[in-house]
């Protein structure tokens, strides 16, 4: 098998242009033969390893909370620069408080779940281990043990889009608390409505929520259903959302039923619904609207 590319032969040289640019660290063997003779090795070519100085780091690992539910569904890792798709699988792992790797706890990749910029990687925990009654859950137990800690480790060997490793390994450790197996109920949120235009709207959720989904699915609209301009912010525990409207309006909060908490429970349904519990029955509404 020969490498794809094209040859240009001149009087005193033969020039090979590979079809794909040569990857750092790749070794090639050039073989040739005289007419009627056997193939023999003419030269070896080694493409140098990249000498680019690495500057890519892990900026944050979510969830940012101190304590995660034992049925935690996902982590998200935010990088400072785009990462090479496909190199995450071997470099992301979960360890417990003794440093032991929690084998089989993460959903096998590929596919790897990257955002458009390849700077945010979503890592799912193995749902079969989380879901009660499934054989992996029954035999291997849930991936996280309540009362212990869990650490997501991103090894430095993960390569950025330029092929360089990270500056250093990154870790995030959380305590493991009780599992959460109920629907998010926005009507139980504590909402402090602004009493004058300079005050923020402050919403305290009934539990820590998924940060990206809060940003996507919790919206402030005016009475006419139009988006209200303003600045929103979430605390580290993703339990308190503060929104400062730019203009004085009668505000309403629209919560999309697809909003999820850290364990994948949404407003619509429990991740792991108990068919015998009436309160686990889902709701059909597309959103829940909170008004003053």
């Amino acid at each position: 098998m020969t490498t794809a590319g094209s040859w240009e032969i001149s009087e005193d040289a033969a020039r090979f242009t590979p079809r794909f640019a040569a990857a750092p660290g790749t070794r090639y063997v050039v073989i040739g033969r005289e007419p009627g003779q056997a193939w023999r090795e003419v030269a070896r070519v080694a493409v140098p390893e990249s000498d680019r100085v690495s500057s890519t780091i892990v900026e944050t690992i979510e969830p940012s909370v101190n304590s995660v539910p034992a049925n935690l569904l996902r982590f998200a890792v935010n990088f400072s620069a785009p990462i090479e798709e496909g190199s995450a699988t071997a470099h992301v792992r979960l360890v417990d408080e003794t440093g032991a790797i929690l084998a089989g706890a993460l959903l096998e990749m590929p596919p790897e779940l990257w955002d458009r910029d390849r700077r945010r990687l979503t890592v799912l925990l193995e749902p079969g281990r989380i879901k009660r009654g499934l054989r992996p859950n029954a035999e291997a137990g849930p991936p996280l043990r309540e009362g212990g800690t869990v650490t997501l480790v991103v090894a430095a060997g993960i390569r950025d889009a330029e092929g360089s490793p990270l500056v250093s390994e990154a870790r995030r450790t959380c305590r493991v608390g009780a599992p959460i197996r109920s629907r998010i109920d926005p009507t139980k949120w504590d909402v402090r409505w602004p009493s004058n235009p300079s005050e923020p709207l402050v919403v305290s959720f009934d539990r820590p929520l998924d940060r990206a989904l809060v940003q996507r699915y919790v919206r402030v609209l005016d009475r006419g259903g139009n988006p209200v301009a303003g600045q929103g912010s979430l605390d580290n525990e993703v339990q308190r959302w503060t929104f400062t409207p730019a203009v004085a309006e009668e505000l309403t909060i629209h919560v999309d039923a697809r909003l999820e908490d850290l364990a994948g429970n949404s407003v619509r349904r429990v991740f792991d619904r108990d068919l015998h519990l009436a309160e686990d029955d889902g709701i059909n509404a597309a959103e829940v609207v909170l008004t003053r």
């Binding site: 098998m1 490498t3 794809a4 590979p18 079809r19 794909f20 040569a22 990857a23 750092p24 790749t26 070794r27 090639y28 990249s50 569904l73 090479e84 496909g86 190199s87 959903l107 096998e108 596919p111 790897e112 779940l113 990257w114 955002d115 458009r116 979503t122 799912l124 749902p127 079969g128 879901k131 009660r132 009654g133 499934l134 054989r135 992996p136 029954a138 035999e139 390569r159 889009a161 330029e162 092929g163 360089s164 990206a212 940003q215 996507r216 699915y217 919206r219 402030v220 301009a229 600045q231 929103g232 697809r258 999820e260 994948g264 991740f271 619904r273 108990d274 068919l275 015998h276 597309a286």
Partner: protein, 368 residues
């Protein structure tokens, strides 16, 4: 809604041929671009018919050499068989770092390998995350200004900092051609749900999306949902068989998948834990239809299609002595089978890994 665009691939994922060629012999190769959450349809010029089957030893080494990379830097991400020439098209993630990218490698029935020059082919693409879904009425607006792509925009006399669809990304785990449309299975970095998309070809920018859930009714107590990892059509295109992580096998009837309401599949087999299904295909032997499931940990499994119709949904927990694993399955003695694709109804092309290298082999129904 720029869902139709001529484009090439940015990343390698599952591939699939439309089963029928045009009157001029043009075949359509669908390639999932997993990083961009798009399907690109390439129109391939006519190829000469062949009845031969493909066999290539040292496939991994040959593909890597062709692409000019080390063995570990050429990973198969999908496989499809040309409906006329029976050439095997492999979707490869090649290289690393700045030089990394996808490549499609064609393996002819004579065993020759070549790079498919995608840029030269007419193509159209369909972007999954931009496709309007029937139930999706929300405004994709993100108002806190923290997204780098957010732009000031004036609405009703007020300037808002608005970012559009900043974070949700779908990834593609499987493609299937069922009843004249392309089915796409995948998962998302956000909501943990499973949607089966049906996309008509030629692409017109629209898709039918059906949310599918499975009763993980190992014990009839908890209902859960999961993304589909592998799928295939069977029963003359009337049904889909899908397999999930850890590893239930679930049947959906095509007439259920209308995009209107949540569809619950029927779990007909439990293949066992800590396992990932790789590939699912259907074939005929002695006038009877069978399905094959290749797995990351379990052996190659053979399931008679007729048993699926008569299998009740599984309801007894694994922990109880009278539990059922569902429809009968047979372990086949073909170790290391990963990717599979139909050559025809009676032959399956597989990638087989012997631990040292991979090989491309064709199994006839009589061997299965």
């Amino acid at each position: 809604m720029p869902s139709i665009a001529t484009s090439t691939l940015l990343s390698a994922g599952p591939v699939l041929f439309a089963p029928d060629t045009s009157s001029g012999g043009t075949a359509v190769l669908f390639a999932a671009d997993v990083a961009r959450a798009a399907i690109v349809a390439f129109e391939l010029p006519a190829e000469a018919p062949s009845d031969s089957a493909v066999t290539v030893e040292h496939l991994g080494t040959k593909v890597a050499t062709l692409l000019g990379v080390e063995r570990a830097d050429a990973v198969i991400r999908g496989m499809a068989v040309h409906p006329v020439s029976h050439a095997v098209y492999l979707s490869i993630a090649r290289g690393r770092g700045a030089e990394a990218g996808p490549a499609i490698v064609r393996v002819g029935t004579d065993g020759s390998l070549s790079v498919v020059e995608l840029e030269d082919l007419p193509s159209t693409s369909f972007a999954l995350d931009d496709a309007p879904a029937a139930d999706d009425e929300r405004l994709d607006h993100w108002l806190d200004g923290s997204d780098p792509s957010s732009q000031p925009r004036e609405i009703h006399g007020v300037t808002l900092n608005i970012a559009q669809v900043p974070v949700q990304r779908s990834s593609i785990t499987g493609l299937a051609w069922v009843g004249g449309t392309l089915f796409v299975a995948g998962l998302s970095n956000e909501e943990f749900s499973s949607r089966l998309r049906q996309i008509a070809y030629p692409f017109d920018g629209t898709a039918t999306e059906t949310s599918v859930e499975i009763f993980h009714v190992d014990h009839g107590k908890y209902e859960t949902q999961s993304p589909i990892r592998a799928l295939t059509s069977f029963d003359n295109g009337r049904s889909i068989l899908a397999s999930y992580t850890c590893t239930p096998v679930v049947q959906f009837s095509l007439d259920q998948l209308t995009g209107e309401s949540l569809v619950r599949g029927r779990t007909v087999a439990e293949l066992g834990p800590m396992n990932q299904p790789f590939s699912l295909v259907s074939y005929d032997r002695d006038g009877e239809e069978f399905l094959l499931v290749s797995n990351t940990r379990h052996p190659l499994l053979k399931i008679p299609a007729a048993s699926i119709a008569v299998q009740d949904a599984l309801t007894v927990p694994m922990s109880e002595p009278d539990h059922s694993l569902g429809i009968p399955r047979e372990n086949l003695d073909h170790p290391g089978v990963t990717w599979m694709a139909n050559l025809d109804r009676g032959s399956i092309v597989v990638v087989q890994d012997d631990g040292v290298d991979t090989a491309l082999r064709t199994f006839r129904a009589a061997d299965l």
